[in-house]
């Protein structure tokens, strides 16, 4: 079926409109971050950098940022270990439980965050666990494992087993094979998975709300400010920052995996 010239033109216009629809709102926030006025109206009257220093000097923002970074990095590290372990175990296996494992790992992302959130909340309070940074880490790790798992598994499937066999034939032991053959082959996939996991964690608000107790991560701080409509100039700055911190690792991850990595799991929420 070939498409006529008019169909092509109409479709092209449609695609451009959708791209504008997708990107104008995101771009807009960056303009507002430089807004001279503290009233959020369009067009902004002028450009200034003053909110950046104001935001940086805000103790609440700093402590929220610190908590987000600590929780995000710890959850990423745990997800890297657990996700890679699972990928190594599963690849080359065709046992019946494989689909079950896949489904289980993707569940925290496919189910609405509120389900995971209140389930974990009930779990912690049932076991008498006080909500702390560690409960946040447990929640984040649970939904981050799948991105690492998917990336590493996809790479392992594409690596030829003949390389490993050749190394073993040449007398390398299991550890040497892992260090000299397997690790270099999968390293970029592991890094990509880690970056996606961090991006996912750094932005998460729903599961965090139920596992953080009284603590504020950056998204929880943002949510609170928007909800009550206070300190919006600082929100503009923080939100712009969060967009950059989540998008840049994803772009790097996409580069490392040839574009496929970022798409394997639709990031949720």
């Amino acid at each position: 079926m070939s498409d006529g010239i008019w169909t092509r033109i109409v479709l092209r216009v449609w695609v451009v409109l959708i791209l504008l629809f997708l990107f104008i709102p995101i771009g807009l926030i960056f303009f507002y971050a430089f807004n001279t006025s503290n009233i959020e109206s369009w067009p902004i009257p002028g450009l200034t950098m003053k909110w950046f220093t104001a935001t940086w000097d805000d103790e609440n923002v700093r402590s929220a940022l610190a908590l987000s970074l600590q929780a995000g990095l710890t959850a990423t590290a745990l997800a890297l270990v657990l996700g890679s372990c699972a990928a190594f175990a599963i690849h080359r296996m065709t046992f019946f439980g494989r689909e079950v494992v896949n489904l289980l790992f993707v569940l925290p992302l496919a189910l609405p965050g509120i389900i995971t959130g209140i389930a974990l909340n009930a779990f912690f309070s049932f076991n008498g666990v006080e909500l702390s940074i560690w409960t946040i880490v447990v929640g984040h790790t649970t939904f981050c494992i799948v991105v690492v798992y998917n990336n590493v598994l996809a790479r392992l499937r594409r690596t030829q087993s003949s390389l490993v066999e050749a190394a073993m034939d040449l007398g390398a032991n299991g550890f040497q094979v892992f260090r000299d053959i397997t690790l270099p082959l999968i390293s970029t996939a592991v890094i990509a998975g880690g970056m996606l996991a961090f991006a996912l964690s750094f932005d998460e608000v729903i599961v965090t709300t139920f596992t953080a107790g009284g603590q504020s991560t950056l998204p929880i701080w943002i949510f609170g400010q928007i909800r009550h409509g206070i300190l919006l100039p600082e929100v503009n700055v923080v939100v712009s920052f969060v967009i950059l911190v989540t998008v840049i690792p994803v772009l790097i991850a996409a580069r490392l995996t040839g574009g496929g990595g970022a798409s394997r799991v639709p990031a949720a929420r």
Partner: protein, 304 residues
């Protein structure tokens, strides 16, 4: 192989080689050791939590102490099923989730079609990245952007004024929620439809044309049935994620915009009635279970 390797002149630590030969003799041992930590995590933390949630739904709280009373009863479900307020909230949540899904399917199809069948390889890659990127750009940021746009003196009214139209005040209404949800989940719909369209064999379309089908006929009778699993796959995300959301209703919804998620949230945070929240959380789970069953019948899982 490993046993033989141990006999070679190359120096090896005895422990490592013994472990290796153990792995060699028991091929299931290595996967088992590797799989235990992640599976343990999921079974003892995540599945245990979900199971506890299910059980909690059948408990209640003491109205005076707000402590959980662990006696099996159906009160929470009875309240949900007999109170009109909850039915209205469930109905609203369901309806908006359905509207969002339909809107996204309509917005996404032409984009996916262009990406899969018209764009050059290069443009295809660029569009793919461009569609995915907003998905990763902070969820809260994207909701917040719409607060700025729909704001009384925001970009929307400024644009309307520019073309001589009266200002629209859709901020903090159900219309705003519909718009924002459609915006946020749109990429989830484009990608699977694109993937499904890519797999439609050219020969089928040529055959349809050879048999005299006009283009609309081919689109409707040949292409649409083949792409349907992709649309359903996308709808799983747009539908499920809208169904469980409570952030967007709080931020851009109005007075009568509560979702199931909002009531759950209020019952955990404010009322401290976790059993009731758990029972209410079963509603989206049940709706999704039915939905997934239908989706599976329509072959959506192969399209994921």
């Amino acid at each position: 192989m490993a046993v033989k390797a141990a006999r070679r002149p190359r120096p090896q630590r005895a422990g490592a080689s013994r472990l290796q030969s153990l792995f060699w003799r028991l091929p299931w041992l290595r996967p088992l050791l590797l799989l235990t930590p992640p599976m343990g995590w999921f079974v003892f933390v995540y599945l245990a939590s979900l199971l506890l949630l299910l059980i909690t739904a059948f408990w209640s709280i003491d109205p005076f102490t707000t402590q959980i009373v662990q006696t099996w009863n159906l009160d929470n479900f009875r309240i949900i099923l007999t109170d009109d307020t909850y039915w209205r909230i469930i109905g609203r949540t369901f309806l908006i989730a359905a509207l969002v899904t339909i809107t996204d399917a309509i917005l996404a199809f032409p984009v996916a079609y262009y990406m899969a069948r018209i764009a050059s390889r290069r443009v295809q890659t660029i569009l793919f990245a461009a569609v995915l990127l907003p998905l990763w750009a902070s969820y809260l940021a994207r909701v917040y952007a719409w607060i700025l746009i729909l704001n009384h003196s925001g970009l929307l009214n400024w644009s309307l004024q520019l073309v001589g139209l009266p200002p629209a005040n859709i901020g903090y209404t159900n219309v705003a929620m519909w718009l924002v949800f459609s915006y946020i989940w749109l990429p989830f719909m484009i990608i699977p439809i694109y993937a499904a369209l890519e797999r439609v064999p050219e020969s089928l379309l040529e055959a349809a044309a050879d048999l005299g089908a006009k283009r609309w006929r081919t689109l409707r009778d040949v292409m649409l049935p083949l792409v349907l699993p992709g649309i359903v796959a996308g709808s799983i995300f747009t539908f499920s994620l809208t169904l469980g959301d409570y952030i967007t209703p709080i931020l851009v919804g109005g007075a009568g915009s509560s979702f199931i998620g909002n009531v759950v949230y209020a019952n955990v945070g404010i009322a401290n009635n976790v059993p009731f929240a758990a029972a209410l959380a079963m509603v989206p789970i049940a709706i999704m279970a039915v939905y997934l069953l239908i989706a599976q019948r329509l072959g959506a899982f192969e399209a994921l």
